[in-house]
Point group: C2
Chain length 371, copies 2
């Protein structure tokens, strides 16, 4: 089913008694947006006394956390984002979930948290997706956005890694992150992550550090910050939660993984699709001034963002203080890549890289039965 | 009472019905440590619909958090640490609490969170300290460690600042952070915060980024990481949660506030006490190699850490990989400063700077009465 690794099946999680009733009651609202409508169920596995306890699917509800828990003071928290797509045959397919699992454990290691076994991670995303199958919106751009996360719950105030940790999968039936294009603003003041910091893993602190720049960006009428490197504030890095690509003289350029950039799974998919299309791909340090000059000269004809939530979204304006660099020639290359990628994700195109992970137990649980 | 600012009294918080019984049942264990024994009560004020709601003192208990809350994914969280001391006359005194309040709000602003009014912050730390008055341990080095913190609780998965925020004060009857001295190890690999990041405010992500280095340090038999600057990995910054001082040729040197160092309140107190003692104080960039050479030559005779939890703790060894730089001549200067500072904090010495903030309503609530 997937060439990357073998999915070791583990015992099915216990489904708590309240789960099927809340699924039965759930209806998908007309307006979804991104990450606003939460699935009525969640998956939980707890790490206690050095081992993982039996996992459960539970009704989605507030969780109890000790006020001294590490996650609330020292941000010991990691997360992932991936999507389940409902295809036209009503089968449900995850997109490259093992890549998320691997990155999740790199993040967990950076945060001194236990690795989540493949079986638990995959059980979690599979169980939530399968149980939600009937409620996964299936128009183009729609999916079930899955959010695995883990938090340190030890209750003491000394700075130390938590021994007890809770792993959850929650989910949100969602649209793509943003319709249309992004207007981005070069962030000349703040940095999202230090070299030797946590920028190359998916942990809360990176995003917390980005909030203030996000506030300035939105006050100026833009959508996203374009981050520069933390050492020299000169080389482009990423948007918050998205990687960046530039089409320059027909070749596709993207910042190399410097250590403070998140290695995006969509980034990797874009690189593979571009190579398959015969486009030259160049991973390198990209000086922001060089990029802006190439935009002015026309050598750089397109810039776009990519990520799980954003998929592939063109950038229409790059602002540098009061100066605006606009792209007016449309986005033929980003559009072509978007079609290639979403045709695979949404089940219309041939899955040439074996990226899709079809779930086999969908509809096994008929939530229309009374419990 | 305190020259820094006027404490605007506000309505006393509502004391929930379970508070006096749990206080009555509470007994202080023999062994305290730091941050391990939690006070049985907590203070909570909630920011909703753009305003602060009436605060409450509650029994200490697990809090309910939506699994999609910003704090659990994007580390939108700030905190402070300060201490309440029970003096020999049984009065309780906070140490420079307004400085913590001011820094808390600088941290909150960096995290795009609402400012906590002085009245709420001071009510919180005062109410918890007053109610706990009889249980504040009062031997030298002991205190009630207070932990105000605020978390973003909006439940949605898009990266955005939370509109709803919860402010808490929890507390722990504690010893000093560590008895004796610290063995520190120069951290040559990681950084705790970027320039333009969040190192100069007290937010979870800084501490999360420090956990992995802490794991290496402890595996090597040391206590703390000595962080270098994020741009060049060359200038000393701080320990995680403590500032650093070096006595070189009789003058007191400490890293200047570079933007990635926390402006410690104990750091400021040490600077003022040293100046008062007629010692020259020099805030500057300190090259780690210069410092190590000065240790070897004997020009640097003492290095010590300071912070609310650690107060003033000598550093006995600085390790750089396998090389160890040891201080064997005792710590007369750190010891003298420690005496000056703790004599004020613990009520034995003259409070020349008006740092103490005596609570006036202590013992008003007699917890020995039945409720």
């Amino acid at each position: 089913m997937n060439s990357d690794a073998q999915y070791a099946a583990s015992p099915a999680p216990v489904i708590a008694s309240g789960v099927l009733p809340v699924l039965k009651q759930f209806t998908l609202p007309e307006a979804l947006g991104f990450g606003r409508v939460m699935a009525p169920i969640m998956y939980r596995a707890q790490f206690r006394n050095g081992g993982w306890q039996a996992a459960q699917v539970l009704p989605y509800e507030a969780i109890s956390i000790d006020p001294a828990a590490k996650v609330l003071h020292y941000a010991q928290e990691v997360f992932e984002g991936l999507k389940a797509y409902r295809h036209s045959d009503n089968n449900v397919s995850l997109f490259r979930p093992l890549e998320n699992w691997k990155r999740f454990n790199r993040s967990a290691d950076r945060m001194c948290m236990p690795a989540v076994p493949e079986s638990i991670f995959m059980d979690g995303v599979s169980a939530v997706s399968s149980l939600m199958a009937k409620h996964i919106p299936a128009k183009p751009g729609q999916s079930l956005y899955l959010r695995p996360f883990m938090i340190g719950v030890d209750a003491s105030l000394g700075l130390a890694a938590s021994l007890d940790n809770d792993f959850y999968v929650i989910a949100s039936p969602s649209e793509v992150y943003q319709q249309g294009s992004f207007k981005v603003m070069i962030e000349r003041q703040d940095c999202r992550a230090a070299l030797g910091g946590t920028g190359n893993v998916k942990v809360g602190g990176n995003y917390a550090a980005a909030l203030a720049a996000g506030r300035r960006v939105q006050a100026a009428g833009f959508d996203q910050s374009l981050w520069l490197d933390p050492a020299e504030h000169r080389y482009i890095e990423e948007l918050s939660g998205m990687n960046v690509f530039a089409l320059i003289n027909g070749a596709l350029h993207t910042p190399s993984l410097s250590g403070s950039i998140l290695p995006g799974i969509t980034r990797d998919s874009v690189l593979q699709l571009a190579r398959l299309s015969g486009v030259e791909v160049i991973e390198r340090s990209i000086d922001i001034n060089e990029l802006l000059e190439a935009v002015v000269s026309g050598e750089c004809s397109e810039v776009f963002a990519c990520g799980t939530a954003a998929v592939i979204t063109p950038i229409s304006i790059i602002a540098d203080g009061d100066i605006r660099y606009e792209f007016k020639a449309g986005n033929p290359f980003a559009t072509q890549l978007h079609t290639l990628l979403t045709d695979i994700q949404e089940g219309r195109g041939e899955d040439v890289f074996n990226w899709n992970w079809p779930l086999t137990d969908v509809n096994v649980l008929d939530t229309s039965d009374s419990v």
